[in-house]
């Protein structure tokens, strides 16, 4: 009597289970079987000349401090004999991370170095255990793209004890250079902000209203790209007023919905500074939807992805400041030099290029 109306079915237990499996399989099948996406747009995926893409060090921005292996502790090594561990911070779903990981892998392959990799999927505690795993798998040199700058003590204690050199790329680890880590290789985010400000001032002739699409809150990239921008605007263009500062969370959708709101309530906005390309492209979509044309609002973004550079050619984006993710060559070069006993600079700042109407068409092949 305590049975439900399905009592009459011959095997009331196995049938639903079977159905669940069937439904789950449909999901997977649907998604994979006979899929056919859109044809790729014309132009092809030509990689451009690799020379134009390579990172170049900015000698002036780098500090004087250097680090050699006898200061750091540990023993010299020949890079081709050791295992290198690479810990990536975020999922390889955006162009920056994809290109960064590819660059590290390609360089390892080219040099014939054994590389083991991990990805923390934006989970900081996972990145700590990732790095510890890399060490236990025998990594003798570590290349780390840190998710956060703080909180690395558990790893640093272990690497210091074993004399494992750490090279951090794109974001820094807070600690003492040549004691906690060997070197940091990356862009100067504040400088990117200042250069974005220069481009904005140029586009507006020093007069007008600017909105900032911020990145994720509490992220040092967001903070520094904002500080650099405001500093330069304040110093050089008192006629420019920053009227909006809202977060688009570094996503295209965020950039789109925030821009829709602000363009609606302030149609006279003259420029938008998007702290990454994705939000900038979202802003383009929003402006298009609001009936604006290319060039009505000057958009300046940071990153240098192909999608954004193509929008310069179309006239929608005024300028893109590059943040070059191709860390492979410089990171391995530093690791090799360090292992052979040479002195390595502890703060290696790369020169980022910029794209605008004058060079976008010619150099779009260099964009990632």
């Amino acid at each position: 009597m305590n049975d439900t109306p399905e009592y009459a079915h011959p095997s009331p237990r196995s049938r639903p289970r079977l159905l669940t499996v069937a439904a789950a399989c449909t999901l997977v099948l649907l998604a994979t079987a006979c899929a056919r996406g859109e044809e790729p747009a014309g132009g092809g995926d030509g990689g451009g000349d690799t020379e134009g893409q390579a990172q170049v060090l900015d000698e002036a921005a780098a500090g004087d401090q250097t680090c050699a292996i006898d200061q750091y502790g540990g023993q010299g090594y020949d890079l081709s004999d050791v295992k290198v561990g690479f810990s990536q911070s975020e999922a390889e779903s955006n162009p920056f991370r994809i290109t960064e990981t590819e660059s590290i892998k390609a360089e390892a392959q080219e040099r014939g170095v054994e590389l083991i990799t991990s990805n923390a999927q934006s989970d900081f505690s996972r990145q700590i255990t990732d790095v510890q795993d890399l060490i236990s798998q025998g990594a003798e040199v570590l290349i780390i793209a840190p998710l956060n700058s703080d909180g690395w003590k558990p790893v640093l204690d272990e690497t210091r004890e074993r004399g494992i050199p750490i090279i951090t790329v794109d974001r820094a680890i807070n600690g003492t250079a040549c004691e906690d880590f060997v070197t940091f290789i990356g862009s100067d985010f504040a400088e990117q902000g200042r250069r974005a400000a220069d481009k904005t001032i140029e586009a507006l002739d020093g007069e007008g209203e600017v909105a900032i699409l911020l990145g994720t809150a509490g992220n040092n990239v967001t903070t520094q790209r904002t500080e650099g921008f405001k500093e330069r605007i304040g110093a050089e263009a008192p006629g420019i007023e920053i009227v909006f500062e809202q977060s688009g969370d570094f996503t295209r959708e965020g950039g789109q919905s925030v821009t829709e709101q602000l363009v609606q309530s302030d149609p006279g906005i003259d420029a938008i500074y998007a702290q990454n390309d994705e939000m900038g492209i979202g802003a383009v979509t929003a402006l298009e939807g609001a009936g604006k044309g290319p060039g009505d609002v000057a958009i300046v973004t940071v990153d240098g992805t192909r999608g954004a550079v193509e929008y310069i050619i179309d006239g929608w984006i005024h300028a893109v400041i590059e943040s070059n993710p191709r860390f492979g060559p410089l990171a391995f070069e530093a690791a090799e030099a360090f292992g052979s006993g040479e002195e390595v600079g502890t703060n290696l700042i790369i020169t980022d290029r910029e794209y605008d109407a004058s060079n976008a068409e010619a150099e779009v092949g260099d964009a990632y």
């Binding site: 159905l19 649907l30 899929a35 779903s93 959708e253 829709e260 602000l262």
Partner: protein, 321 residues
């Protein structure tokens, strides 16, 4: 005696007031925020503004419709954001066959995801929060395996779906309006609609009175999955890109908030579609107001939290007898 009487009377009044606020407070909230904006926000009273707000609220509203039905049965669906991601990835994968096929595949994917939830909840007897949590994690994972990085959509028809209008009203808003009508019809005029509320009210009683409880539950989750897939299609069309990594992130919370703020109790047994719409609009206007006045995003989160606590406080007296 006297004391007891005088103690009871105001309590009854307070209860009536609470019940009224619970049922109609959301409309008062919308009215207050609209009035505030009319006075303090430049260009608020413009067609363009209503277009922006309506277009932005549409996906959340569509997801919230499905969520309202699921919550009315006493369940919950945490997987709606993941289903949107699946639907977005299906669009990117199948657009080569044309937009109609791609949209159909996306909807079928939504139905299949809903079926997994429904079967786990209705037949395997797994708690809704656990069953749908599994798909919330696994679904987005699958979507990311299928389409690991954002893919631009160039198909003109699909882009028009996201940005075009008919009689000066965006397609996106038309679709949301039609879906509202369909769900209202289901709830008010069909046996299925009565049944799902009855299940939420008292599942045992519904079973004993011969309602097809399991079939109804299955159908409710399938419907919720399809509605989430529609939201995924519209978001993709509007963004002109399929982005499984960020589409629909945290939308389950916005949808649940809209439903609860709109006066549908989380315990089920009751469903308020008009309230759900007002709830979604209230949250949208809250975000819009804070952006337009350039207040920090943390304020938005705190304001939303305040509204949710208020709504849940008002709903706390609801005891089923």
């Amino acid at each position: 005696m006297v004391r007891a009487v005088s103690g009871v009377r105001p309590r009854v009044d307070r209860a009536t007031l609470l019940a009224w606020t619970r049922d109609y407070g959301v409309y008062v909230g919308v009215a207050v925020i609209v009035l505030f904006n009319i006075v303090f926000t430049p260009n608020f009273l413009s067609l363009e503004n209503f277009r922006v707000q309506a277009v932005q609220v549409a996906p959340v509203l569509i997801v919230a419709l499905g969520m309202a039905l699921v919550i009315a049965t006493g369940g919950i669906d945490l997987s709606v954001g993941a289903v949107m991601a699946l639907s977005a990835s299906a669009i990117a994968l199948y657009l080569g066959y044309g937009p109609v096929v791609a949209v159909l595949v996306a909807l079928v994917a939504g139905a299949a995801a809903g079926a997994v939830n429904g079967l786990l909840v209705a037949f395997a007897g797994i708690q809704a929060i656990i069953a749908t949590l599994a798909l919330m994690i696994g679904g987005r994972g699958l979507a990311l395996v299928l389409v690991p990085r954002l893919q631009g959509i160039r198909n003109e028809d699909l882009r028009a779906l996201g940005s075009g209008s008919f009689l000066a009203v965006p397609y996106v808003v038309w679709i949301a309006a039609v879906l509202v009508a369909v769900v209202v019809f289901l709830v008010r005029r069909t046996v299925f609609g009565r049944g799902l509320v009855a299940i939420g009210g008292n599942r045992r009683a519904a079973e004993l009175s011969g309602l097809p409880v399991r079939r109804t539950l299955l159908l409710v989750y399938v419907l919720c999955g399809v509605l989430a897939a529609v939201a995924g299609v519209l978001t993709t069309a509007r963004l002109q890109a399929s982005d499984p990594n960020s589409v629909g992130v945290l939308i389950e919370l916005s949808a649940i908030t809209a439903v609860v703020v709109g006066g549908t109790p989380l315990t089920g047994g009751r469903v308020r579609i008009a309230g759900t719409i007002a709830g979604a609009v209230l949250m949208q206007l809250l975000v819009a107001t804070l952006i337009k006045h350039d207040l920090p995003p943390s304020w938005t989160q705190m304001a939303q939290a305040a509204v949710i606590i208020g709504a849940v406080y008002l709903a706390r007296d609801r005891r089923r007898t």
